[in-house]
């Protein structure tokens, strides 16, 4: 679980999960993952983590706050 190779893999795993790792690194990671369930789970759950945040609905500024912002900038008359 604490192999040296897992540690090395972890350094590149973020790029890998994004599909941005260079080909040699990709090949190395894939080879390692084939034989290491630990790292398969890490990569999969890391991908899911990133995906969750990409799908997370974005919080919107409350209308009251928007009003205050326009007021502080002396732009109230232009507010839609």
């Amino acid at each position: 679980m604490d192999h040296e190779s897992c540690r090395t893999l972890l350094e590149g795993v973020s790029l890998f999960a994004e599909g941005e790792a260079p080909p040699e690194l990709c090949a190395e990671i894939e080879r390692h993952m084939a034989g290491c369930e630990h790292c398969r789970i890490v990569v999969d759950s890391l991908r899911r983590t990133i995906d969750l945040y990409h799908r997370l609905p974005q919080p919107a500024m409350p209308e009251k706050a928007r009003e205050k912002l326009y007021k502080s900038l002396d732009l109230t008359e232009y507010m839609k």
């Binding site: 999960a17 759950s45 890391l46 990133i50 799908r55 997370l56 974005q58 409350p62 900038l73 002396d74």
Partner: protein
């Protein structure tokens, strides 16, 4: 994406003191600035003040904008600095415990190792799930948090994030990576399959 030519036009109008141009700028950029401020400050009221401060000082200092970065990146930098100033002023208890040192390498080694379940789209609409994801961001050390919010949630490129935060691109990449690993670790108990379902993976 704001395109370069229209941004130059907008800037000229803001410099000329045209209020409608300021309104356009606020309309385009305040949602993102608000989200950044909210995630940095944790309190809605503080976030609102950071947004006000950002646009006030941006419009006042618009002549100092040199166009080397885009307008959005410049606004994020002002917002980030305003947020940090407030956090510092609020005192040490506002700065997270792990802030003093960069997270150690050892902290990178994942511990929670259950496979994760698939999350249907409608699950993400649930306030409880969203709150869990937001809470995990808030629990990140401040340095990792700023990078994660800008890169992953606001989709600001690495160079823009580096310039907004005054750090190198390599540091942005490292911090993004660490933030993701920490969030994975933090969220694992929440999103992992129950033990009996995960057990199938081990073939016993």
């Amino acid at each position: 994406m704001t395109d370069k030519a229209s941004e130059t036009g907008l800037l000229e109008r803001i410099r000329a003191g045209e209020k409608k141009a300021c309104v356009e700028c606020v309309e385009i950029h305040s949602p993102g600035i608000y989200r950044l401020a909210l995630r940095l400050m944790r309190q809605e009221a503080d976030a609102e003040e950071v947004v006000q401060e950002t646009f006030l000082s941006a419009f006042k200092g618009i002549d100092r904008f040199d166009g080397r970065s885009d307008l959005r990146t410049w606004l994020y930098r002002i917002a980030y600095n305003a947020a940090m100033m407030r956090l510092r002023r609020a005192g040490p208890e506002e700065v997270s415990v792990e802030e003093a040192a960069e997270p150690e390498e050892g902290a990178l080694i994942p511990r929670a190792l259950m496979a994760w379940k698939d999350l249907p789209e409608e699950e993400l609409e649930k306030a409880e799930v969203r709150e869990e994801l937001e809470r995990a961001i808030r629990d990140l050390p401040e340095k990792l948090r700023a990078v994660f919010v800008m890169r992953e949630l606001e989709h600001i490129p690495t160079d823009g994030t580096a310039s907004a935060l005054g750090i190198s691109e390599d540091v942005v990449k490292t911090r993004l990576h660490r933030a993701r690993l920490r969030l994975r670790e933090r969220l694992a108990p929440y999103f992992a399959l129950p033990a009996e379902e995960a057990g199938g993976n081990h073939g016993s």
